[in-house]
Amino acid sequence: MSTPLGPLHVTGEVLATKTVGAHRHLTLVAPGIGERSRPGSFVAVSTGEARLARRALWIHRVRPMGGHRATLDVVVEPRGSGSRWLAGLAPGAAVDVTGPLGRPFALPREPARCLLVGEGYAAAPLLALAERLRQRACPVHLVLCAPDESRLLDVLEARRSVAQVDVVTGDPQAAIAAAVASADVVYSAGSVPTLRACADAAAAAGVSCQVALERHLTCATGLCSGCPVPLLHHEEDGGPRVVRDCVDGPVFRAGLVDWESL
């Protein structure tokens, strides 16, 4: 019953690895997943049999490599036992991958000035998003931020491909507030405080805002109800609802999220 565009569950392989600052970048061969993904999609990976929960990773890049049509780049920030296990994988290692998962970013119908705010490893989907927006004649302003320099992502690549790039280490709130003033649409990917800063600034300026909301996921596939996101208004029926981050998100319209109850 798989729909042609539904997620796939495959045994993939690590093709390449590299360390960039505090992050470990993995290139995965996972046939069929890259071709189906959009900016904002993510994958779930298994980290050994003893850890039952999956680890969710943003799809950073999709590109041909080593004779494979669409490899996936993912960014791992080693924090817990699962992410450390992933960071320790060597080329050739097998890894179970499920994806693409989740609702990706929605693109503007008309050309609009887009502000993209990405924090740390969570900025992973934003360069691909910037590329899509440019194809739609949308001017892009990218703010990359992180608590420290070692966790900034994609600064060099961003400067090569995006006209306006700001880099902020430490608290990004002032930069966000300043940048929102000249945007029509805001896209944000990062920690909850950063997403909220974008949501609040966008609401004050009366512009639309989408947030890529990371919650602690277990199955990442919509089966377990372990990643609740409280919404103030559901898009379909208008009432408050608790939805699942992994299948109803992870990208949400910021104004729908009940940030106080999150």
Partner: protein, 277 residues
């Protein structure tokens, strides 16, 4: 038994582990499973627990979902038709805060076209947290089953889902069978605590030996009652171990969070290995 055994194969999905059915159907045809068990449905929608809901534990998961579900009306209006459309043999899991609510939900779902069986959740591990009728004693479990059985049409199987508690499983299974259960499911996640002390349930391979012991005891003590085994089944060998001690079927739960194709893989392997005894 009130009706025929409706399950075409020995592998079902476990309650609360298959989403609405649509999500699981992305990874395999629901018609290829013996049955699809819904998350527990209550009379009215429940938003579920606040705070962290699932944490990893060695070879397991501790969950405190709080029985989030859309309620009877939305289930009947949206989810059941979708499940039937997907070709599932539907087992509706039910729960309630009182005997009256159990009976009312049983009546509503048991009479719905396309529901093959009811699974009465008598073992919510975080009953107090989830606001479920607190079932500690076999007579209380029997009371709920009797209330659910009363208005159930013939042909709808009534399954009672119990705890994998070796010290109580036999008397509880006996009590619910006498009260009208057609089969027992052994068992649910075992009562445990989240890291902050809130009540929750431990599931996964960590509890498989507990479930195997409880299933063995129930099978031995109640030769006339089919036992469906549930608890940490990850692969075909695990499923065979439960079938070998006399379980009639198995449910796959937490394994689906680790690998959404697990139930289908196990079903295919058992089918390829010939009919389970």
């Amino acid at each position: 038994m009130s009706g025929d055994w409706p399950f075409s194969g020995p592998v079902l999905s476990a309650s609360g582990c298959g989403g609405t059915g649509r999500e699981l159907a992305s990874y395999g045809d629901l018609a290829d499973l013996g049955g699809f068990v819904t998350r527990s449905i209550t009379l009215h929608a429940r938003p579920g627990a606040r705070g962290e809901r699932i944490v990893e534990s060695p070879s397991g998961l501790v969950n405190a979902i709080g029985l989030q579900n859309p309620g009877v009306e939305a289930f009947l209006g949206e989810e059941l038709p979708a499940l039937l459309e997907l070709g599932a043999t539907v087992v509706a899991s039910i729960a309630g805060h009182s005997l009256g609510e159990y009976a009312e939900v049983s009546r509503a779902l048991g009479r719905a076209a396309g529901v093959s069986a009811l699974e009465v959740n008598l073992s919510a591990p975080d009953a107090s947290g989830a606001g479920v009728f607190d079932i500690r004693e076999p007579f209380q479990a029997a009371g709920v089953v009797a209330a659910c059985r009363r208005d159930l049409p013939g042909g709808v199987l009534l399954l009672a889902k119990l705890r994998s508690d070796a010290s109580r499983v036999v008397e509880t299974a006996r009590a619910v069978t006498e009260a009208g259960a057609d089969a027992v499911v052994v068992g649910n996640a075992v009562p445990a605590a989240m890291p902050d002390g809130r009540p929750g349930g431990l599931s996964g391979p960590a509890i498989r030996p507990l479930a195997l012991r409880s299933v063995s005891l129930a099978v031995e003590a109640l030769p006339g009652t089919p036992v469906i085994a549930c608890g940490g089944i990850m692969d075909p060998a695990d499923a065979r171990a439960f079938l070998d001690v006399g379980a009639r079927a198995v449910q796959v739960g937490s394994a689906l969070f680790h690998d959404p194709t697990a139930a289908h893989r196990i079903a295919a392997a058992l089918a390829a290995g010939g009919e389970p005894r």
